[in-house]
Symmetry: C5
Subunit: 91 residues, 5 copies
């Protein structure tokens, strides 16, 4: 998502459109959120993000930015009951 | 939305009625939120807003306002998997 | 809603039962929230309230009250696409 | 709810299982939340609780506890449009 | 859930995949959340967690981590109306 009309302090921040997934089937839920990237995430990667005021506690979104969603990790594995439902480097 | 009966420190703040949209189809979801404008948004524009306590971190809503929703950007483009689902200046 | 058994610092606070409405049809959604009054709202008025930690930023709920919902305005008009869906002083 | 395996600073805190109710019919919604008691609430009482970071603003949960839900009042009356839907001391 | 690509300050934090349960029937709701472990929780244990900014108030997640969910207790018992719906050491 790109926005040119925004407060100056948001310049340089990358806004990514995330689709929530079921962590077991990995299917998209058709439920989206706009999140500020702090880790250099790319298309089709599964990421971990934090919501709410906690989104202000990253090196990118710190310093008083109006952020309520920030990507804080790229997921390598998801495991449930000893089985992997997702392995980034195998796919 | 206009309110005359409110705390003095909210005077001059513009309250906009936002309808949430599906970012792919751009259809309205019939789900509304009242948000404080900080960027001069207009009718029918697609905007980006933050919720919760993060809404207090703008130049307009800062200074201890009771704000839980603030518009922080006017959207130019929305892109999914390399395709634009929205282009402000083409519409 | 009246509660006699509560922390002393909540004495004098008026707890109102709010029903969420559709801002276009003005119909109640049968979805309720208890909110602390800060503007002297009355029965059947349409009000604006803030949720979460932002509810602590009013003259009434400030000073460290455990408040997660506060009424911060009585609504005069609601307008969508140039048409009023609600006018307080016309009804 | 009882938990023995928890941070020391949560010792002595009573965790209650709350069922959300419809404030008009008083029927349970089969929707539950675990909340820290700060007022000495008992079984079958209707209580008022706060969610989110505001739950840290009580005498019991203050001092930096990881609390996101706290009971802050026992309800005496609920009134809608001039009629009581609940009266604690009449039931 | 394992993430290698994340801010340094999140190194050493264990991210657990939690499935929300009905506290009466104990059945999973197929609704998941990623939470930071602060108590050494294991597979198939029922845990108590806090959401939102309150998740930053533990010894593990303190110090400015971008955390919006933290496990703060392992549940021993759940009781409703005098009957146990769950007893950890009996199962």
């Amino acid at each position: 998502m790109v926005s040119s009309h925004k407060p100056e302090k948001l310049n340089g921040i990358k806004f990514l459109l995330l689709e929530k997934i079921d962590p077991i089937t990995l299917k998209g839920k058709n439920d989206f959120v706009i999140s500020m990237d702090t880790v250099g995430a790319g298309i089709h990667e599964i990421v971990f993000y934090v919501s709410g005021s906690s989104a202000k506690y990253t090196s990118v979104t710190g310093g008083g930015l109006p952020s309520d969603s920030a990507i804080t990790g790229i997921v390598d594995f998801i495991e449930k009951d000893g089985l992997y439902t997702y392995e980034k480097y195998k796919a």
